[in-house]
Amino acid sequence: MMRDNRIRRLPMALSSLVALTLAILPLPSGLEALRPDFLVLVVFYWSIESPRAGGLTLAFMAGLALDVIHGVVLGQHALALTLMAGWATHLRLRLRVFSILSQCLTIFALLTGYQFVLFWVDGATGNPVTTFGRWLAPVIGALLWPVLVGILSRLHER
């Protein structure tokens, strides 16, 4: 089991780093609102694929990184990502036998939950973002899920 963990930590860290850079890659301002939460998807993937390699710790650290990079109140993304990664880990056995469509729907639910926690913390800390645009990211993220699974599973099964 320990060997298993060590093998998986490297692709885990690498994919998270790539996702983090994608999260701040400059996009034309019209497309910015459509950017899916790459890092969140990657964290979900590892929570489902190998939760013992530290899925929740990864979720918390990735959340903190997003907080710092997005310049929002410290702990916001960490809270949302921890909760949803925990939920994803809880669902992982079911998710693995789901068809790809049901997987996408579940991921959509998780991403919406994630956005909702962000939305709630935004409101509670006094700078709400009420534009409709923020609810688009979960849709695009869910559509992207099969692609991401394809890439990441190839990456660590080699």
Binding site: V68, V73, L79, G86, N127, T131
Partner: protein
């Protein structure tokens, strides 16, 4: 802790729940401490240093591309550019001719009125980094931070006018909130008649609005809005925008005024961070009338503190 690492199914679940709750509580505590108290500033500053390599890694290919494009420009394009810049410089110099005299005069008058609020002291220039911060908030990341003396609330200008203010400072970088952000407001004055009001961002980079003007207010399309210097955050007299449209609905008590920002909010790459003159120092400086008080420009200043 060892108990939670067992492969036993029920053991795993309690472990997961416990860890999830612990991490969540920790995150909640972070949110509350960061919101309520100011203790996390240092931690955030350190974390921003960790984030810096990632930000640089993302920004550098774009900078590299810009550099490459610049270095392969043709001679003709350079010449056209040079002619254009020379024309612009002539115009700027022409406008500047009376600037020093006016500046001194304004300083004397302000001293008479005992009002030295919002006189600029010095600038440094920072570059916008090619990094996206948040899709729903109008912010940019600039490569100047606490080590250059940048502070929260500092006024930021670009070549056209007021750009925004510093929202958060890291060791090497700073986040600037644009005047067009939906949570940003700036005290302004109509240049034509001195009417004071507040310009509020809309979340749209091409538009500000003046929500607090009565329908009877003397404001027309084309009016220039400048900073009033009230509130002390911004230097007085810098252009904020021009009135694009005034809608007066007789049934409403307030007019609906749209403003086009003067700064190129979506295009500017070089920004000026401004230090205001401390009130006492400004008074002392303006005591001998006619003292030259041009703001000094330090192009790539090291760590100066105001």
């Amino acid at each position: 802790m060892v108990a939670f690492r067992t492969t036993d199914a029920s053991g795993r679940m309690t472990g997961l729940l416990l860890r999830c709750v612990l991490y969540s509580l920790f995150a909640l505590a972070l949110i509350i401490v960061d919101k309520r108290y100011d203790h996390l500033g240092k931690i955030r500053r350190v974390l921003s240093i960790v984030a810096y390599p990632v930000q640089v890694a993302v920004a550098s290919p774009f900078e590299g591309w810009d550099w490459f494009r610049e270095s392969v420009t043709t001679r003709d394009a350079l010449r056209a550019d040079k002619t254009k810049l020379e024309a612009e410089l002539r115009l700027a110099q022409f406008r500047l001719q009376r600037y020093e005299a006016l500046e001194a005069e304004s300083e004397r008058l302000r001293a008479l009125r005992d009002n030295t609020a919002g006189v600029t002291d010095r600038f440094i220039i920072g570059n916008v980094m090619d990094v996206d911060l948040d899709a729903f908030r109008e912010r940019v990341l600039v490569d100047r931070g606490a080590q250059d003396g940048v502070f929260v609330g500092q006024a930021v200008l670009d070549a056209g006018g007021v750009f925004g203010q510093v929202a958060r400072v890291g060791q090497l970088t700073a986040e600037v909130i644009l005047v067009s952000d939906a949570t940003h407001a700036i005290p302004v004055q109509v240049n034509r008649n001195g009417l004071r009001t507040i310009a509020v961002g809309t979340g749209d980079m091409g538009r500000l609005k003046l929500p607090y003007l009565p329908t009877s207010a003397d404001v027309i399309a084309g009016d220039l809005l400048v900073t009033s210097g009230l509130g002390g955050g911004f230097p007085a007299g810098y252009p904020v925008g021009s009135v694009a449209e005034v809608k007066r609905d007789p049934a409403q008590s307030l007019a609906d005024v749209d403003v086009k920002p003067a700064a190129a909010l979506d295009r500017s790459r070089e920004l000026l961070f401004v230090w205001l003159k401390p009130q006492a120092a400004a008074r002392a400086a303006s005591a001998p009338p006619g003292t030259p008080t041009t703001p000094q420009i330090t192009p790539s200043a090291g760590p100066h503190n105001p």
